[in-house]
Amino acid sequence: MPYNLLVCGSNGLYQLGLGNDDDHCELQLVDLPFVAHEKPKAFAFGASHTLVLFPNGKVFASGSNEFGQCGIAGAKILQTFCEIPGTWTDIAAGWEFSILKSNEGHFYSCGHGPKGELGLGEGVRVATEPTKIEFGSKLGSGVCKIQASMSHVVVQLHNGSLLGWGTCRKGQLGNVPTVLNSQGKPKPPMGLWEPTVLSYAPVIDCKVGRERTLLIREEGATTITECNDEDIATPMNGLLISPATSGIKFQCGWSSAHVLAYSQLYGFGKNLHGQVFQHDQFTGDVEDFEVGSEHGVLLAKDNTVYAWGWGEHGNCGPNHDDFKISKLYEGGNNKVVAMACGLATTWIITENQS
């Protein structure tokens, strides 16, 4: 089945892979090899770089490659999508770094991590090409998935325990040993420089957003969440009455967290730019949703994509008002099969039904 990849939003360093550096408020067709035949399996978004993983293990990158965050040594900017050598099964990206999981099950990081984001050990701030991360015996039960937010990385193992590295000052990596400041007083360290077993009880899922980690567990038949931002977890727990395994989906933005439960979408967090979805803006059934740094998109049952939140770079479509939901895409014969949101960028994958 032929697929199309459509994109709009912030594009100052070619992160949309269109061959130009203009922001776009109208959806643009991305000319990416493979997309015609294979549906992308995952996206990962940095400040100004984008990774796309395909089911066959190929990864393509576009955008800023100032520190090698696109996984390809050489050019400082990739204006269109270029293939990262190797065969990969998972990807993640933070501000100026990327993490890749190889077909052999090894993790590699590349780019810039001034506060430990690369996980390559104390003081390693730059890796201009994918460099293997050493875990010792910490991967125990095997890796379920890897996620990165702006400046921290979380690896979830099959038994629900978590490893992490990167910035930790806000509690996003749980309780970590303190260090002494210049006056001899204890303070949290700036970051963890290598993969560290986190102090959390096992989870069934977790999500990361800017300086926050949302942990999801089941207690009996109820889902409970824990977060280093109490404004998120407390109201969310008041909503959840079913087990997460019944198909509840969570996503974290930078200032918000969202949950899709019972075909309804609910948002929590700071709403200065409309980034917290307001339930009364769209009362129909919600098929799926994704959130970026400060905006989100939802897919309605009728194959229409709506966008809400901070849309200054065109990432919510033309003429968008931050505090009103906008219709971004009407699918028609092109069925929306996946969506993704980055830092003020929006990506829609369609499958041609005709």
């Binding site: 360093l13 400040a47 702006m150 400046s151 000052r169």
Partner: protein, 69 residues
């Protein structure tokens, strides 16, 4: 009153000794920035060169010397 996107502690900014700028990620992909000299003068609003967002910097002037070492 200026409308700010967020309030960010100075410890979460990254300091570049060459440009003498403190920077923090903006959700558009660029960075909020404020000059060391502006902080010394008591300014506390860091702006993003690529969009309209700005953040308030939480800091004490007397702590700046330690932060830039």
């Amino acid at each position: 009153m200026t409308s700010v996107y967020d309030e960010i502690e100075i410890e979460d900014f990254t300091y570049d000794p060459i440009t003498e700028l403190f920077q923090y990620p903006c959700p558009c992909g660029d960075r909020f920035a404020i000059a060391l000299d502006d902080l010394r003068d008591g300014e506390d609003i860091a702006v993003c060169p690529s969009c309209s967002l700005m953040v308030k910097v939480i800091f004490e002037v007397e702590d700046l010397d330690e932060l830039i070492q």
